[in-house]
């Protein structure tokens, strides 16, 4: 037999009356902090401060680990050791694939001096994911897990709802968004917490286009730290701009936020460390082999001249429309596998500051990496085709817009 909600509540009130007593409840510090961080006058400055601290710790820790520690191991020990001991040596094709493709100096090819330049499966293929990305990913997940376990995220969702609601999402969309800043795959998966098809579709498309993952940010931090602020800003503006447009065009309802705001909790060190480890392990398991595979494929494509062919074929689009060098074709292919790898490759291409910014934006928005692609397909089914269409439109308009901005500024 089923009760109506009212009958059910009537019964519960009666049960509670007989079994439940509330003693004196004093307002604790925890409640006070709970109110402080959700009321706009105090909560919004607090949220900005939290995000600022998050970003500062993220970038400084990652830089410290990579520059102060990882680079020394990889460039001073690992690379020279492989260059000395790997069978074949310079000139051998297998050596070039695995260890060092070498640097062109005039007509001669000389040994690379860093794992960034050597572009071998065992050198760059390991250095990029472990030396650069791993520290970034670890510190990101440590802080994210901490915020999650304390119970801050729902409050952030309430505060940001005002803005996200204007583009047809609601505050809860901040969760997939922040998760995507670690890795787009769990971000896309988390779109399930949104209620309607329209919201899920929009969220997924926006994530795949405008949110760079932790691995990519980690490499950006290493290769182009001076432009990262502008690039992130351009991407976030795109997120809101295209969110706004999609919301206007797409049919479907935009539900209101309705959610529980749990009390703050004392975080458990065990839970946080476990969570950080599991997420990091996910990266080691799936990210590292993919970067190595990516390096291998890219090298092979270069050797057979396929990338050069594509670069020439696509040159009008690259140079004419997007205003980036035609060599961007290589990184864009790499980006299908791993965006971090693509950014690292961009770093090796000769170009102006503005072209670099355009190229990084292009790598970010033009297509999701294969892992995200598969997850989007799994989560959205047929709607995925629509996602691809939206993606195409955005790449050409928003990528082209940047070129236009440079032209207007007279720097293109």
């Amino acid at each position: 037999m089923h009760l109506t909600p009212d009958e059910r509540w009537e019964l519960i009130e009666e049960i509670a009356r007989r079994t439940l007593r509330f003693g004196n409840y004093k307002h604790t510090l925890k409640d006070a902090i709970g109110d402080f961080t959700v009321k706009p006058a105090t909560g919004i400055p607090f949220a900005i401060a939290i995000l600022f601290v998050f970003w500062s710790v993220f970038t400084s820790f990652a830089a410290l680990m990579t520059d102060g520690f990882m680079i020394k191991i990889f460039d001073n020990h690992w690379l020279p050791w492989l260059q000395q001991n790997f069978p074949g040596g310079p000139g051998n094709w297998f050596y070039a694939l695995m260890v060092d493709v070498g640097q062109r100096q005039g007509s001669a090819i000389v040994a690379s001096e860093s794992c960034f330049d050597s572009f071998g499966v065992l050198t760059s293929g390991l250095f990029l994911p472990i030396g650069v990305v791993l520290p970034a990913i670890m510190i990101f997940y440590l802080m994210l897990s901490l915020l999650e376990d304390i119970g801050y995220m729902p409050r952030l969702a309430v505060l940001i709802d005002t803005f996200l609601h204007k583009i047809g999402l609601h505050g809860y969309a901040i969760i997939p968004t922040i998760l995507s800043l670690g890795c787009n795959v769990p971000g896309v998966e988390a779109t399930r917490i949104l209620e309607t098809k329209k919201q899920r579709f929009m969220m997924m498309t926006l994530l795949a286009m405008f949110i760079p993952c932790g691995a990519q940010i980690g490499i950006m931090q290493k290769v182009i730290p001076q432009y990262i602020g502008f690039i992130m800003l351009y991407l976030f503006v795109g997120y809101f701009l295209y969110g706004f447009i999609m919301n206007k065009i797409l049919p479907g309802k935009t539900p209101e936020i309705l959610m529980d705001v749990p009390a703050y909790q004392k975080p458990l060190v065990k839970n946080i460390s476990k969570k950080m480890w599991m997420r990091t392990a996910g990266f080691l398991r799936e990210g590292v082999p993919f970067v190595m595979l990516g390096v291998l494929i890219i090298n092979v494509l270069y050797i057979f001249g396929i990338i050069e062919f594509m670069a020439t074929a696509m040159a009008p689009v690259f140079e004419g429309w997007f205003g980036v060098p035609r060599e961007t074709a290589g990184p864009l292919i790499a980006a299908l596998l791993r965006k971090d790898l693509a950014i690292a490759q961009l770093g090796a291409i000769e170009m102006t500051k503005y072209q670099m910014i355009s190229a990084v934006v292009l790598v970010t928005i033009y297509f999701p990496c294969i892992a995200t692609f598969v997850m989007m397909l799994k989560e959205s089914g047929r709607a995925f085709l629509g996602s691809l269409l939206a993606l195409m439109i955005v790449v050409f308009t928003y990528g082209g817009l940047l070129h236009l901005i440079w032209k207007l500024m007279g720097v293109a």
Binding site: W9, V38, T162, E256, M259, V261, A263
Partner: protein, 75 residues
């Protein structure tokens, strides 16, 4: 006096009267039922959501929901 939840003042208390749409079932699951005492915690600016307290739980409601929820408050 009967007003919608979004018009309650900070810390004001009221008794929930009801809502008449498909969200009723869901709200009931979150503890929001007719006759229940609720308290306004905060209201976000620019038509943002409200946060109310029901029993010992805080719930956040979008303004589009809050303006349909009626409470009985003292003058």
């Amino acid at each position: 006096m009967r007003i919608s939840i979004d018009r309650m003042k900070y810390n004001q208390e009221g008794v929930f009267v009801g809502i008449n749409n498909e969200l009723r079932l869901h709200l009931a699951g979150m503890g929001l039922r007719a006759g229940k005492k609720i308290k306004m915690i905060t209201r976000e600016p620019l038509k943002g959501p409200v946060v109310i307290q029901v029993d010992h739980a805080s719930i956040s409601l979008g303004i589009g929901i809050a303006d349909k929820l009626i409470v009985e408050v003292d003058e």
